[in-house]
């Protein structure tokens, strides 16, 4: 009897051992064949201490334009966007939402007089926009492509107007119930004291039809400040910490190459993952696409991008310098790849920073996998930024900034034609910061500037003296 019991116990132990062995075999195969590091199973410190940005904070318009009629405009403060979203939300609560295509003339007739419109400088579909903000949608929205402008005018209170610059089409969404929020917002913004803008065509007359608007006068608190590029490459420990955030703490199967000029390269396998920490502080990360993650949509890819950026320094300089990011550009199915290339810009004190060399954060997502990441952040002199925050000065007249740089446009930038012809080609005029520098320059001054955009070219002029600072050809 006892012998039988012992035999049973031994058999049971054997069975348990077999199960354990089998599980161990499966796990080991999973780790080795699945290309998974044990590090991946535990959260690193850097991952535990970051907050990923909400997509909503990035899907914001570049401008909110208030039309006053007679080609005069105001720009609403950026914080008014949340109120506009509430208005859009109320608008879409209507029981019936009818979508129809309209003509450019109809769109302009409504927008020309008392109206409000948000202008986006990247492509985003209406459905994705509504999804990101939790706004009600209908299948009819699928007829509308991407939104470049979202507008509302008091002339047609039952309509929400949409402009799709990609397809050059105009739409309106008609509601049957009453929505008052957008109207109230528009009324309050019209009454608010803020600079008046006119179209370039209005200042120049005779044949200039450009509808880009510039202010008559502008009081601004933009002031120059000094910056340093992040200089990890000078600190071995810092470089190592950065590399750990990409490859895990143990550096399993990682090769480290130090080039003569100080650039450090970390490589996993035969180049499946490569991290380059350049001497000028620029970090580049490349990863081979595994092609196993399946296709991801716009918002999912953006979320993946934000998660990745969050774990790798976020939008902060290494000394704690904080910037407010914005989505500057989105390329869909770039360079023949299926996916998204997101370019992020940075803001400081509500003003955008324009870089003569490369945009600070570029990330590519292919099939929901990060395949490229470029980070080029600077640490700014916080004292310089803070101490003059409340000092307002009058900027150089925008129209005279253009007029007085006519010879610069022609002689330095190689543009041809009369001043009026060149003015007709302008696609943006904005005040902000300009960082004009050479590729390897590690410190300098961000200048308060007028930024003038043409198709494929961007020029910078001192905001207070109008002296040319430089220009860049946009590829």
């Amino acid at each position: 009897m006892k012998e039988t019991i012992d035999k049973n116990i031994i058999e049971n132990i054997k069975s348990v051992l077999l199960v354990v062995l089998m599980i161990s075999t499966i796990l080991l195969l999973y780790f080795f064949w699945g290309d998974i590091s044990l590090e991946d199973l535990k959260l690193s410190d850097s991952q535990a201490n970051y907050e990923t940005m909400d997509i909503k904070d990035l899907i914001v318009p570049s401008q909110i334009v208030i039309s006053l009629g007679e080609d005069s405009y105001k720009l609403a403060a950026k914080n008014k966007w949340s109120e506009m979203v509430k208005g859009l939300n109320e608008f879409m609560q209507s029981d019936t939402l009818i979508v129809e295509e309209i003509t450019k003339e109809q769109y302009e007739k409504v927008m020309k007089v008392s109206s409000i419109r948000a202008k986006f400088n990247y492509q985003l579909s209406l459905s994705e926009f509504c999804f990101a903000y939790g706004i009600k949608t209908t299948p009819a929205f699928n007829d509308i492509g991407t939104i470049s402008e979202l507008g509302y005018g008091t002339i047609s209170k039952e309509s929400l107007l949409i402009y799709d610059s990609k397809k050059q089409k105009y739409y309106r969404i008609i509601i049957t119930s009453e929505a008052k929020r957008l109207e109230r917002l528009l009324t309050s913004l019209v009454e608010e004291e803020s600079p008046i803008y006119y179209t370039i065509g209005k200042y120049l007359g005779g044949g200039v039809t450009n509808r880009i608007f510039i202010p008559i006068t502008l009081q601004t608190n933009l002031h120059d400040f000094e910056y340093n590029r992040e200089t990890y490459s000078k600190q071995k420990d810092a470089v190592s910490t950065i590399a750990q955030s990409y490859f895990g703490k143990t550096f399993d199967f990682i090769r480290k190459i130090e080039e003569g000029n100080g650039t450090v390269i970390y490589m996993y396998g035969y180049g499946q993952k490569v991290l380059i920490v350049n001497t000028n502080g620029v970090i580049e990360y490349k990863e081979e696409s595994t092609g196993t993650n399946g296709e991801a949509g716009y918002l999912q890819s953006l979320k993946t991008a934000l998660n990745f950026i969050g774990t790798h320094g976020a939008f902060e300089g290494s000394n704690g310098t904080k910037y407010v990011p914005y989505l500057k550009n989105v390329e869909i199915n770039f360079d023949g790849k299926r996916g998204y290339r997101f370019t992020f810009g940075l803001e400081l004190n509500d003003y955008r920073i324009y870089y003569q060399d490369r945009d600070p954060i570029i990330i590519e997502i292919t099939e929901n996998q990060v395949t490229y990441f470029n980070r080029d952040l600077s640490e700014y002199n916080n004292v310089m930024v803070e101490e003059k925050k409340d000092e307002y000065e009058e900027a150089y007249s925008a129209i005279n900034m253009l007029a007085e740089n006519y010879s610069y446009f022609k002689n330095e930038m190689g543009m041809t034609g009369t001043f009026e012809e060149i003015a007709n080609r302008i696609i943006s005029v904005e005040s902000g910061y300009a960082v004009v520098r050479k590729k390897d320059q590690i410190k300098g001054t961000a200048k308060a500037a007028w930024i003038v955009g043409f198709d494929g070219i961007e020029a910078y002029f001192d905001l207070y003296t109008t002296d040319p600072l430089g220009y860049k050809i946009i590829e």
């Binding site: 009629g69 007679e70 005069s72 019936t96 939402l97 009818i98 979508v99 129809e100 295509e101 309209i102 003509t103 109809q106 007739k109 409504v110 007089v113 008392s114 209908t138 299948p139 009819a140 699928n142 008091t154 002339i155 047609s156 209170k157 039952e158 309509s159 309106r172 008609i174 008046i196 006119y198 209005k202 200042y203 120049l204 007359g205 005779g206 008559i216 007249s397 129209i399 005279n400 007029a403 007085e404 006519y406 001043f419």
Partner: protein, 184 residues
């Protein structure tokens, strides 16, 4: 004696040419906005003057009123132009007075391309004259002017007028309804 006569003649000719230039407008100074004879439906007026040489200019904006006895009345561009033509033909014409909207502005352009720009706010309906004078040593050497009519904003065109040519709401509603039932 003959030499003196020629010298006097030359001086008189020079003086006369100056008189002519007083009346002439400066080819390097152009009123770009508002367009002469136009009507602006707004209570604000943007004045834009293009200057293509280093110059000093003075810009005056006045409201034109018709004077009858000691009373001032609103007038029109046509009325002012007709009165000018009548005066040129030696006929009697109505009297007009210019009431300054603001003190005249003096603007110095130091480049070969500059713009004087100013927005005049709370402009009441009426006929306005924009006069631009080119100054040299504080003397007016050229001048040009333009008349503009300011009117109140008209009642905004209704949405029905704008969207009348597009598809009817009912048809569109049906289309959308079908789409929501059967998808795209």
């Amino acid at each position: 004696m003959r030499k003196y006569m020629i010298a006097v003649l030359l001086i008189v000719m020079m003086l006369l040419s100056t008189v002519v230039s007083f009346a002439a407008s400066d080819s390097n100074v152009t009123i770009v906005n508002p367009t002469a004879g136009s009507t602006v439906y707004s209570s604000n007026l943007l004045v834009s003057v293009k200057v293509t040489q280093p110059k000093t200019i003075r810009v005056k904006v006045t409201e034109e009123k018709k004077k009858i006895n000691d009373n001032y009345y609103s007038t029109t561009i046509e009325e002012i132009q007709k009165a000018e033509q009548a005066r040129e033909a030696g006929k009697t014409a109505s009297t007009f007075v210019s009431i300054p909207v603001e003190e005249a502005d003096t603007y110095v352009s130091q480049n070969y391309l500059n713009f004087y720009t100013k927005r005049f706010e709370k402009v009441t309906p009426g006929t306005y004259k924009i006069r631009v004078e080119t100054l040299l040593n504080s003397q007016v050497i050229y001048s040009s002017e333009c008349l503009v009519m300011m009117k109140e904003k008209p009642v905004e065109t209704t949405a029905a007028k704008i969207f009348s040519s597009t598809q009817s709401g009912a048809t569109q509603f049906l289309q959308n309804l079908l789409k929501s039932i059967f998808g795209n």
